[in-house]
Structure formats: structure tokens, C-alpha cells
């Protein structure tokens, strides 16, 4: 691999695009001054991407990242950009380059610039066939602010020959990319942020797949217990939970495991579930699941939000969980002592919640109320009564009398599952629920 000399570079610049040796560097504003015997000087373009403060205290390299971490800035020729001490910015070369298949290149900070403690490259390698302006990761590592002038020389490109064996086109007939160019960084003319896939997607390519194991017992199957892994490639917790839901209700044509709608809704709306295990075909028999809440915020460790053990015991404190997320984040962010105490209190509340046993009638009424209102609207007694009748029939609980409903509502209210309005005529499902499912 030898460095390409000026004469060869200039000769390649003259070749037509259809020539495999053609090299493009445009515009070359001062040819006489641009070429050294073994390099070409490049200038700074007018557009910059400035990193911005993020709402969360970290940066996650995923699909959304390049839209969220930069502010674009245009600095016309004749003006300058001030890069504060120890700050970074993305810029681009003014020159658009296209490398042939047999050359690669390296961009280096121009030595005069480097001596001001400004570096322009942390990923200096340019692959064969690359085309575009080069994005520069400009860092001012000095102790003083530095002015950057678009149009001034900032770096130098050194070209190198590739081993002839490496320059043969991709001839693998089975390759879906055969003879095709990689579009990832194809043809940018302004600086561009990184393009990431989601971490799960990247890791899946090397066989690391985060999954939930779902153990199922199919009474009709002779295999008995089956175990299925659900990959977690979906991008949000809701999708993940939906996938579980589909597994339960869709794949087998009928529900092997009954998960009450209202509980699933509660889980999906408020907390993050990992490792759910479904191991009972009995109606209502559900789950072994870890409910991950605070440990998402404080890091993995002992602070699991709650552990739900089969068969059918589930303990959630939805409102506390929902509030805990933002308040905990805020506390960390602001180092607020009061905030941290509030978070600690919330955690204590979660751990100290006592489960309460409900009667079947109470369960049916509560479930009906949840399904009707989703916690968002008040329900009148008549409405609840109408909705519950069918459930009572189907559960062989007989007829639900208005007086009996009154008592059930009063019981649910006492254990804070529901809240009455001031006139005691309508009820809403309580935000905080401590509930044990039998």
C-alpha cells in the first residue's frame, strides 16, 4: 500500500467518471496551492452540527439519535464559528470527493491547525468508492476558544493504493449486495450525524438476542410443557408487551393463558415487565414476572420494583410507578435532596404495599369498572350494574342486585381500588391499586 503522488492524483482528476481510475475532488479553488507532493489540502465547509444538551442524562446510539443530538448551523464565508475550549462540533470539507475502487485515503488535521490544539478527525479513514464531502469531528482540545473560518484550509488528504486483489468487484452471486454500493454514507455534502441501528438489531446480528422466555403448557399437546423465546427487537416496551399479548391470544388460536385485559393494560401503561412466564392453562392463572421499574433508573441491582409470583398473585402500584419515573429522573438531574427523599418514599410505598384479598364479586366489579373507564372517566352505578350483569351470569354468580353492588363499591372504595366523587354518585378507578388476584 503506497502513498499516491501528486502527478498521479492530477492525472486521475482528468479521467472521465466512467474510468475506473477516476478521482473527483471538487471544487479545487487553488490548485497550485492545494497539492503537496503526497497530499491534497482540503477546506472547511459552511455547515456545522453542534451537539445540544439532551433531556436525558445520557446518549443512546440508536436509530433516533442523529435527529436528536445536533443543532444545524450555517456560517457563511467571511464569518466564523467559535468553538469553545474543550468543545466539539461536526463540520465537513468544502471539497466533495469520489474515490475509485483502487484507492483509499486518510484525512489528517493540517499541521498548522493541529498546533492550535484543534483536531478534525477521529475516524480518518476513507474507504474506496466513497463519495461525498467528509464529515469532520472537530474538537477544540485547547484551553481557549478557537475561531473556525469556512473556506480556510483545515485538513489534508493522503491517498493510498490498494492491493490489486482487494480491488476486484464483489462477485459472490449469492450476495444480495452484489455489485451494489453501500448507501449508508453515500454522497453527503454537509456534515451528517451518525446512523445507528437499534442496539438489539446490531446485537442480533452476532446472535445475541435479548428474549423473554415464555413457558406454556398446552393441555392438548403431548409435548406437555413448551418453551418459546420472544425476541425483543421491537423498539418500545409497548410493542414488546403487545408481542406477548399476541403470543397468548393469537398464535395458538385460543388463549392458553388467560391474562385479564385490565391487568395487561395496567402493565402496558405503567410498568416494564421482564421475564414473564406463563405456565398455567387455568383461567386466571398467569404469571411469573419481574416488574422492572426503579431499577431501570438506578441501574440493575437489588431495587426491583416488585416480583409477581404465580399462580395469579400480582401486585402493582401503578400510580406510584408512573410518578416515580419522572420524579426520580428529575432528582438525579438536579441533585435535589428532597426529590431523592421523595423517590425513596415512593420506593418504600411500593415495597410496603400489602396485598388485599378480594372476593370474586369484587374482582368482577373492579374488572368491569377498569374495562369501562380505563381509569379515565367516572362511572355511574347504573352503568357499572349494566356492565357487570353479564359477567356475573358467566361466572355463575347469580344476579347482581343494586344493593349488593352498593356494598361491593363501598368495599372497593375502602381498600382504595376506586374513588367516589364528592356526591357519591359516580366512581373512578383509583390511580393507585394494591391488588391481589386470586
Amino acid at each position: 500500500m503506497g502513498v499516491v503522488r501528486r502527478e498521479e492524483l492530477q492525472s486521475r482528476l482528468l479521467k472521465g467518471l466512467d474510468d475506473p481510475q477516476s478521482l473527483v475532488i471538487t471544487p479545487l479553488l487553488d490548485e497550485a496551492g492545494a497539492f503537496d507532493s503526497d497530499s491534497v489540502d482540503v477546506r472547511l465547509g459552511q455547515t456545522f452540527l453542534l451537539p445540544k444538551s439532551l433531556q436525558q442524562p445520557y446518549f443512546c446510539p440508536d436509530r433516533k439519535s442523529h435527529d436528536t443530538i445536533y443543532v444545524e448551523l450555517f456560517v457563511p464565508f467571511g464569518r466564523y464559528l467559535i468553538v469553545p475550549a474543550h468543545q466539539t462540533v461536526l463540520g465537513a470539507t468544502l471539497e466533495f470527493i469520489k474515490l475509485p475502487r483502487d484507492l483509499c485515503a486518510e484525512i489528517l488535521t493540517k499541521s498548522s491547525i493541529a498546533r492550535t490544539f484543534v483536531v478534525i478527525e477521529t475516524a480518518p479513514w476513507v474507504h474506496p468508492e466513497y463519495r461525498g464531502c467528509l464529515t469532520l469531528e472537530i474538537a477544540n482540545v485547547s484551553n481557549t476558544p478557537v475561531l473556525l473560518y469556512p473556506g480556510r484550509k483545515i485538513g489534508q488528504l493522503i491517498f493510498m493504493h490498494l492491493d490489486p486483489d482487494m480491488t476486484r468487484p464483489d462477485t459472490d452471486a449469492n450476495s444480495p449486495r452484489k455489485g451494489k454500493l453501500d448507501p449508508t454514507y453515500f454522497g453527503p455534502v454537509y456534515p451528517e450525524g451518525p446512523k445507528f441501528k437499534d442496539p438489539d438489531e446490531d446485537l442480533a446480528q452476532i446472535g445475541i438476542t435479548a428474549t423473554w422466555t415464555i413457558e406454556e403448557v398446552d393441555p392438548d399437546s403431548k409435548k406437555g410443557r413448551t418453551e418459546t423465546s420472544v425476541p425483543t427487537l421491537q423498539r418500545g416496551r409497548h410493542q414488546k408487551l403487545l408481542e406477548v399479548w399476541n403470543r397468548i391470544h393469537g398464535t395458538h388460536g385460543r388463549a392458553l393463558t388467560e391474562v385479564p385485559d385490565y391487568l395487561l393494560s395496567a402493565v402496558m401503561e405503567s410498568v416494564y415487565v421482564i421475564d414473564p412466564v406463563y405456565d398455567s392453562p387455568a383461567p386466571g392463572g398467569l404469571v411469573q414476572a419481574t416488574v422492572e421499574g426503579p431499577n431501570q433508573i438506578f441501574g440493575a441491582g437489588a431495587l426491583a420494583g416488585g416480583v409477581c409470583k404465580k399462580p395469579g398473585n400480582i401486585r402493582l402500584n401503578i400510580g406510584t410507578f408512573a410518578r416515580l419515573g419522572p420524579s426520580a429522573y428529575q432528582s438525579i438531574h438536579t441533585h435535589s435532596v428532597i426529590g431523592i427523599l421523595q423517590v425513596a418514599w415512593a420506593l418504600w410505598e411500593i415495597f410496603s404495599n400489602q396485598t388485599v384479598n378480594l372476593t370474586t364479586q369484587q374482582v368482577v366489579v373492579f374488572r368491569a369498572m377498569w374495562e369501562l373507564s380505563r381509569g379515565e372517566r367516572a362511572l355511574a352505578k347504573e352503568e357499572i350494574l349494566g356492565r357487570c350483569q353479564a359477567d356475573f351470569d358467566s361466572q355463575n354468580l347469580g344476579v347482581l342486585a343494586a344493593a349488593e353492588l352498593e356494598t361491593i363499591l363501598s368495599d372497593l372504595e375502602r381498600i382504595k381500588c376506586i374513588k367516589p366523587d364528592s356526591t357519591l354518585q359516580t366512581w373512578t378507578v383509583a390511580e393507585e391499586i394494591t391488588y391481589q388476584f386470586e
Binding site: E7, Q10, S11, L13, L14, L17, D18, V24, I25, T26, P27, L28, L29, D30, E31, A32, F35, T47, E72, L73, F74, V75, P76, R79, L94, F96, K98, R131, G132, C133, P176, R177, K180, L181, D182, P183, F186, G187, P188, V189, Y190
Partner: protein
């Protein structure tokens, strides 16, 4: 005890605060963003006006207090004069207020900077338009507009006079409004050339006058004596004919400056806003001639200037659509008045007779586009070959003298690339990209526009370097190698 001076001070303070807010806004915007020169100048001028207005208000208040103390000179006449003056200042700032936010929003990343620079350069090459500038505003409408420079100039002058300043520089500035959604996009923003036509009409009053006279004459010819029978109706129809003549003038003006790219952009935009469906293409409305008529005129001009011959073989639905629209027989044109179909073929006939004058005026105010057309004919294939490789086509600028014809040729060649099968071919040549996926297609159209815009930017840089005496791509250094 409150007296008349308190009322005056109160009123002056409220205007002062308004102006102070606006001034601060202009300072903040200018400090944090970059603008095309005219917009920057406009914001700067608003700041200057604000500064002077504030000073004037301070002086008025001080004078009022002095007179109130002296009592004898604090007369009703003085007070009324000052109140009138305050009222004028308030009104004029209200007008400016409307312009400033759209101007501030039109920062360099939000507008086609290099296209504006090109248009500005082209404008300045026209007779009586030397020194013209284009200020860009963004509008929430999905349409392009030209704001009357004259009325804004009047506002500034009135404000200058009201605040006792007579040296506010206004210059020759065209205010063009672009839809915010089009941002820095190149292809659709070519439509701003039409608005520059309106700017020309506003500045070159003799041309506008000639068109007005032609409108009136053509109506007389068709109507004969009837013309004077109902002056109100005559005035209405004359005005309508003027509108149509102006619109056709602006279309043809744009064609002369930017070539078929304007027609391609028009057909895209008309399709987007839904005026090419059903019988709407044949419909004349009070403000605009029928789209079919406009395309008929545009195509005729493109053929006359020799452009169309170069794109006649373009394999694109858009080209076919333009030709089909241009071929709509004139007897299918219809006039819609107050939302109803009006049986006024006579008006349409009158319009037909004034088209000759429109053409004459367009040719009078524009330069011969044959350089650009020839450059397009010569370089289009090479430009498209560059784009097909994902390469900025500025490398084509050879050692020959650079002229404004080159960016025009590049824009047209890029437009042809975009409309033809070449864009899907480029997409298909890339791994994991699908030309039928709209997300992918949209991404590569944006890339195509970026390459084209970069080529125009490079053109201006190379031109500057050439004028400064530096060699450019394909220039001396390379020639030496070639010679050796």
C-alpha cells in the same frame, strides 16, 4: 394629578415597548442565524428604524414634559400633532411587524440560499435592475408570493419621515415568500422566479403600463362601443385581463431566466395543490389564467427559445403531462366568476389578442437565454452522468470562462434526472434501497437536490477564484499534466 401629558407619555411608552420588542427580536435573530444578504439587510434596517423611532419617542416625551412645565407652549395643536405622529408610527410598525417574523424565519438553512444568489445575479444583469436584491420570507401558505416592495418602501419612508429621519436606505429589494414546507428544496423553489416577474412589474412601471394598456385595448377591440356602456363592468374586466397578462408575463419571465425547470416545477406544484384535476386546468379565474393556457404559453416560449427541443425526448410523465395540457384546445377554456361558469368567451378572446404584447414585454426585459440553452444542450448528459454516480456536478466546470448559464444548465439537467428513469436507476444501484419505497425515494431526491445545490455553490466559489486569478478544477495545473 393626571393631565394631557400623562396620556401622551402613556401612549408613547406603549409604542416604545412595541418597537423595543421588535428591535430585540431582530438583534437576536441576526445574532443567532445567517440570512441571504437582502433579508439580513432588511432585519438590520428594521433595527435601525427601531433605534431611531425610540430616539424620536424619547425626544417627543422630553419635549412634552418641557412644554407641560412651561404650560404656555403645551397647546392642543402641539398635542394633536404629536398624537397624529404617534398614530402614524404605530400604523407603520404594525405593517413592518407583519414582515419581520416571516423574514426572520427565512434563515439560510430554511431557504434555497444558492438559488436565491443565482436569481439575484440574474436579476441584476437585467436592464434597470442593477443592484437588485431578493429578500426571502416564509409563508404558511402552500404557494409562492411576491410582497410589494413599493408598499414596504412607502412604509419605511413614512416611518423615516415620522421619526424625523430621511436617510433610511431602502434599495431595490424584491420580497419573495416561499412556503415553509419547501425549505431549502431546490426543485419546487424554482417557482420563485415567477414572483421575481412580479417584482419586475412593480419596478419597471413602463412594462406594467404597457400591459395595462394592451389589456384595455384588447377589450376595446373585442367589445367596441360596449366597452364604455358599463364603466364598472369594463373596469372589472380590464383589471381581470391585466391580472392574466401579468401572470403570463411572470411565467414567461421565469422561463427566460431558468428554462424548462420552471415548467416542470409548476406542473408539480399545480398537481400538489389540486388544480390539474377534472376541468380545472381549463378554468380561468379572476386572478389567474387557466393552467392549461399557462402551460400552452410556457411551452410555446420554451420551443421558441429552443429549450424544448433538448427535453422533448425526456422519458417522463411530467413532460407528457405538460404537452397534453398545452394542447388543450382554446375553445375548452372557461371562465369562473363568483364560483359559477360564466359564458364570456369574448373576454377569453380579448385575452388572446393581448398575448403578443406580453411576449414582446418579456423579451424586452429579459436577456437572450441561448447561452444557458446551449450550455444545457452541451453539458446535460455529463451533469446527469455525474448525478448517476452520486457526484456533485461542479467538476464539469472547465477552463472556459464561467457564466451564469452554467448553474441554469445544471438545474435543468438535474430536474431532467429527477423526472426521468435515472433517479430510480440510481436508487436501485445502491444496496438495500428500493425505488418504489417512498421513504427511500424521498431521501434520494433530497440528496439529488443537495448535489445540485452544492454544484451551484461551487460555481460561485470557482468564479470568485477565477476572477481572483486562481486556477480551478480542470484548469492550469491539470492542463500541464495533460500537456506533458
Amino acid at each position: 394629578m393626571r393631565g394631557p401629558i400623562d396620556g401622551l407619555l402613556q401612549e408613547a411608552a406603549s409604542v416604545y415597548r412595541l418597537v423595543q420588542f421588535i428591535e430585540r427580536f431582530c438583534v437576536e435573530q441576526k445574532a443567532s442565524r445567517s440570512y441571504v444578504p437582502a433579508t439580513s439587510r432588511f432585519l438590520g434596517m428594521a433595527r435601525l428604524l427601531a433605534d431611531r423611532t425610540k430616539r424620536h419617542l424619547q425626544e417627543t416625551a422630553a419635549e412634552g414634559v418641557r412644554r407641560a412645565a412651561a404650560k404656555s407652549s403645551f397647546t392642543d395643536t402641539w398635542l394633536n400633532n404629536e398624537r397624529d405622529s404617534l398614530h402614524t408610527i404605530k400604523c407603520e410598525w404594525t405593517i413592518l411587524h407583519r414582515y419581520l417574523k416571516p423574514a426572520a424565519d427565512a434563515h439560510a438553512l430554511q431557504v434555497p440560499f444558492s438559488l436565491v444568489t443565482l436569481a439575484e445575479r440574474q436579476l441584476r444583469s437585467l436592464e434597470q435592475m442593477g443592484g437588485a436584491l431578493i429578500a426571502v420570507l416564509v409563508t404558511p401558505e402552500l404557494n409562492y408570493f411576491q410582497r410589494s416592495h413599493t408598499s414596504l418602501k412607502n412604509t419605511i419612508c413614512t416611518l423615516g419621515e415620522a421619526t424625523g429621519q430621511k436617510d433610511i436606505p431602502t434599495g431595490l429589494v424584491g420580497f419573495v415568500e416561499l412556503p415553509f414546507s419547501q425549505g431549502p428544496s431546490l426543485f419546487s423553489n424554482v417557482l420563485m422566479y415567477h414572483e421575481l416577474g412580479h417584482f419586475i412589474l412593480a419596478e419597471r412601471t413602463a412594462v406594467a403600463g404597457a400591459l395595462r394598456k394592451a389589456a384595455s385595448d384588447s377589450l376595446s377591440q373585442v367589445y367596441g362601443k360596449e366597452l364604455t356602456a358599463n364603466p364598472k363592468s369594463d373596469q372589472f374586466f380590464t383589471r381581470m385581463l391585466e391580472n392574466w397578462a401579468f401572470e403570463i408575463f411572470c411565467d414567461l419571465f421565469a422561463i427566460r431566466l431558468i428554462g424548462p425547470a420552471f415548467t416542470f416545477a409548476s406542473v408539480e406544484m399545480f398537481g400538489l395543490v389540486g388544480v390539474l384535476a377534472g376541468d380545472t386546468p381549463e378554468r380561468f379565474v379572476q386572478s389567474h389564467p387557466a393552467p392549461a393556457c399557462r402551460f400552452q404559453q410556457q411551452l410555446a416560449m420554451l420551443k421558441d427559445d429552443g429549450w424544448w427541443q433538448s427535453v422533448a425526448l425526456l422519458d417522463s410523465d411530467r413532460r407528457v403531462q405538460i404537452e397534453r395540457l398545452a394542447e388543450v384546445p382554446k375553445d375548452r377554456y372557461w371562465l369562473s366568476l363568483d364560483g359559477k361558469r360564466a359564458q364570456r368567451t369574448d373576454i377569453l378572446a380579448a385575452f388572446d389578442t393581448l398575448l403578443g404584447t406580453v411576449w414582446k414585454c418579456v423579451r424586452e426585459v429579459t436577456n437572450d437565454p441561448s447561452d444557458a440553452r446551449q450550455c444545457f444542450a452541451d453539458e446535460s448528459a455529463d451533469v446527469q452522468a455525474c448525478l448517476a454516480e452520486g457526484v456533485v456536478p461542479s467538476r464539469l466546470f472547465s477552463a472556459r470562462p464561467l457564466s451564469l448559464a452554467m448553474p441554469v444548465a445544471i438545474i435543468n439537467a438535474a430536474f431532467c434526472f429527477y423526472l426521468s428513469e435515472q433517479l430510480p436507476s440510481l436508487i436501485t444501484a445502491l444496496a438495500d434501497q428500493d425505488a418504489t419505497d417512498l421513504e427511500h425515494r424521498s431521501y434520494w431526491i433530497k440528496r439529488l437536490e443537495m448535489w445540485t445545490v452544492k454544484a451551484i455553490e461551487d460555481f460561485f466559489l470557482l468564479e470568485g477564484a477565477q476572477q481572483y486569478g486562481r486556477s480551478t478544477t480542470g484548469g492550469t495545473a491539470i492542463k500541464t499534466v495533460k500537456g506533458s
